[in-house]
C-alpha cells in the first residue's frame, strides 16, 4: 500500500525525480549509443575484411588513396593501368588467382534512376573470386551483358530494371549487406562497364589520357598460393612498372590498430560515464535520505516497520531508474542512427549494425547493468533510512 506514497512522492517532486531520470536516461543513451556504434564499426570492419578475400591488391602507381579508403569507402578511383598488367601478374609464381576490376564512376540521380550515390564497377565474372561469394540472392550463372549485381544497401530487387548512364540494366542478383562500400556498389561485367565508360561523353575525361577503356583496368585482386607468402608475390610484382601493391595483411594490421585505438577511446569514455553516473546516483540518493528524514520519522511513528521504510526508499530510488531505462534505450537508438549517419558521411569506417536480436540483447544488458548499479547505489541509503532513529530523523528533518 505504501507504493501509493512512493508514486505521490515521485510525481509531486518532479524536479528531484526528473534529475534522477535525466542522469540515468543520459547514461543509458550514451552507453547504448557508444557500445552499439563501436560494435557496428567492428562488425563492419570484420565484414569488409572477410569479404575482401584477396591477399594482394595491385593498383596503378599514381593511386593516391590509402588502402583503407579503397577498402571501406570505395572512392571511385578513376585511375587506370593497362590490362597487360593482369597477364603479367598471372604469370608470377605464387599467384593462385587474379581478377581485374574497372572503376567506372559514381552514379547519382543526375545520370541514373538511382536515389543516392552509388559506384559502378566492372568485374570479371569468369575469374572473380569475390563478388559471387557475397551473393545473397540471384545469379548462379554467368552474368549477361545487360545485367548487374547490386550491393546490399541499394534499394533494388531481383528483376528490377535500372537506368545507368543511359543504359537499361536488369538486376540479376544482390549481395549480402557487409557494412562497407560494397553495399553501395553496382557490379556489371567488366566489358559492359568499359563500354558504358567509352560511350558516355562525360566520362571521357576520366580515361582519355590512359587509352581505350577496353584495354584498361583499375585494380587486380590477387589470391596467393597458401604455400607462398604474399610478401614474395609482392616482391615479384614490384618489378612490373607503373603499379604498386597493398597486402591484405598490412591493411588488416593497420585496421586492427586503428580499431584498437578507437575501442580504447570508446571504452574509456564508457567507464567515465559509468563512474559519473554512479557518483551522481550516490549523491542523489544520499540527498534523498536527507530529504526524507522527516517523512521516515513520521512513517515510523505512525507504525511503519523498518522493512517498509527500506522498500519505500529503494522503490522510490529505482522507479525513476526503470522509467529512465526505457527512455534512455530509445534515446540511445536515436544516437546510434545519428552516429551512423555521421560516420557514413564523414569517415571511412564501415558501419554494420548487429542483428536486431543482438541489439535488443545489448540494450537489455546495458539496462540491467545500470539497474544493478543503481540498486547498489540505493542500497546503503535505503538501509540507512530504515535504521534511522525516528525521533532524531523527525527532529533533524524539521530543522532543515
Amino acid at each position: 500500500m505504501l507504493f501509493k506514497l512512493v508514486w505521490k512522492n515521485l510525481i509531486r517532486r518532479p524536479l528531484q525525480s526528473g534529475l534522477t531520470f535525466f542522469i540515468v536516461a543520459a547514461c543509458i543513451a550514451a552507453l547504448v549509443g557508444s557500445v552499439l556504434t563501436l560494435w557496428s564499426i567492428e562488425n563492419g570492419a570484420q565484414g569488409v575484411l572477410d569479404q575482401w578475400g584477396a591477399d594482394v591488391l595491385v593498383l596503378p602507381v599514381q593511386a593516391e588513396y590509402t588502402p583503407e579508403d579503397i577498402l571501406f569507402t570505395g572512392i571511385p578511383a578513376n585511375i587506370y593501368m593497362d590490362v597487360q598488367v593482369l597477364n603479367k601478374v598471372r604469370q608470377i609464381s605464387g599467384v593462385e588467382a587474379a581478377t581485374p576490376q574497372f572503376f567506372t564512376q559514381t552514379l547519382n540521380q543526375s545520370c541514373c534512376s538511382l536515389p543516392k550515390e552509388y559506384r559502378f564497377v566492372g568485374y570479371d565474372p569468369q575469374s572473380d573470386f569475390l563478388v559471387n561469394n557475397l551473393l545473397a540472392q540471384g545469379v548462379g550463372r554467368d552474368l549477361n551483358p545487360g545485367e548487374v549485381i547490386v550491393g546490399g544497401d541499394i534499394p533494388a530487387f531481383l528483376g528490377d530494371r535500372v537506368a545507368i548512364l543511359g543504359h537499361p540494366f536488369d538486376v540479376a542478383g544482390y549481395l549480402k549487406t557487409m557494412g562497407g562500400s560494397i553495399d553501395k556498389t553496382i557490379f556489371a561485367p567488366i566489358d559492359t562497364a568499359r563500354s558504358v565508360a567509352a560511350q558516355s561523353p562525360y566520362l571521357q575525361e576520366n580515361w582519355k589520357n590512359a587509352g581505350d577503356p577496353q584495354h584498361l583496368i583499375s585494380s587486380v585482386l590477387i589470391r596467393t598460393n597458401p604455400e607462398v607468402s604474399p610478401e614474395e608475390v609482392v616482391q615479384q610484382i614490384s618489378r612490373i612498372p607503373g603499379v604498386k601493391t597493398v597486402t591484405a595483411g598490412k591493411v588488416m594490421q593497420d585496421l586492427k590498430e586503428q580499431l584498437a585505438a578507437f575501442r580504447s577511446v570508446i571504452w574509456t569514455l564508457i567507464l567515465i560515464i559509468c563512474a559519473i553516473t554512479v557518483a551522481s546516483l550516490c549523491t542523489r540518493y544520499s540527498s534523498l535520505v536527507l530529504e526524507k528524514r522527516e517523512e521516515v520519522g513520521l512513517l515510523r511513528i505512525l507504525g511503519a516497520e523498518r522493512r517498509q521504510i527500506f522498500i519505500v526508499v529503494l522503490t522510490e530510488a529505482l522507479f525513476s531508474v526503470l522509467v529512465a531505462s526505457v527512455a534512455g534505450s530509445f534515446l540511445g537508438l536515436g544516437l546510434l542512427f545519428y552516429f551512423k549517419k555521421m560516420l557514413e558521411a564523414y569517415s571511412s569506417f564501415p558501419f554494420l549494425l548487429p542483428s536486431w536480436p543482438q541489439v535488443i540483447l545489448a540494450i537489455l544488458g546495458i539496462v540491467l547493468a545500470t539497474i544493478a548499479l543503481s540498486f547498489l547505489a540505493a542500497l546503503w541509503p535505503a538501509r540507512r533510512s530504515a535504521h534511522m532513529d525516528p525521533i532524531l530523523a523527525l527532529a533533524e528533518g524539521q530543522m532543515r
Partner: protein
Amino acid sequence: MQVTLEKVGHDYTNTFGEKVSPLKEINLEVNSGDLVTILGPSGSGKSTLLFILGCMLKPSRGGVMIDHVEVSGLEDRELAQLRLQKIGFVLQQNVLQPRLTVWENMMLPFWIGEAKDFNRKEADQKVKGLLEASGLMERANFLPHQLSGGQRRRAAIVRALVRDPELILADEPTAELDETNQAIISQWLMSLAAQGKTVVIATHDLCLAGLTRQVYNLDNGCLHVRGERWNQNE
C-alpha cells in the same frame, strides 16, 4: 488500555560527551478513559516521556508495560504493529507529509498497514467522518502548505485518530493556536477520553491542563502529581 511506567529513566550523551538525564525515575499508570496532562517547562523531558509511552524510544532503565506486556522485549516489527494498531500520536510540530493532500495524509496510517488489515470503504468513511467533524472536509484535496496552522494541527489530530487507537499521545496540541482552535482541540481531546480512550497530553498550556482530570508536573526528571481538577482547587 493500561499503560504502566515503573522506575523509568532515560539518559543520553550530548555532543560534548556529557551525560544528560531528562528522565530520572518516572512512575506512572494510566488506564482507559484517563485524560492525563504532563506539565513542565520546555526541555524538561515531556516529549521524551511521550515517546517512551508510545514505544518510540526504549528507556535506559525501568519498565514500560502496555496491557501488562513488557514492551522492552518486543521486536521492532511488533512495536511497529503496536503503534499502528493501538497508539495515535499528535506530534509537537504539525508533521504532515508535505507531498500528500490532507485526504492522503489521513489515509497514510491505512497505507502503512496491510491491505487485508482494513476495508477500503470503511477507511474512506472513517476519514470522511473525521474530516467533516473537524471542519476539514473542504480542504481534503489541499496540500499541507495550503492550510492554516490550526487546520494543520486539526489534520494531525485526525490522522492520529483514523485507526481508532486506544492510546492517544498529544505533544503540545494547542501550542501556537488561536483561542478558537485551542478550544476546539481541547474539547476534542476531552471527548476522546469520555469515549474510553486513554489520552496523555504533554503541554505547558495551563488552560488545557485545567480541563483534564489528572495533572502531573515533570520536574528535574521526576513526575509529581499536581492534583486532580487542580485548577478548581487552586
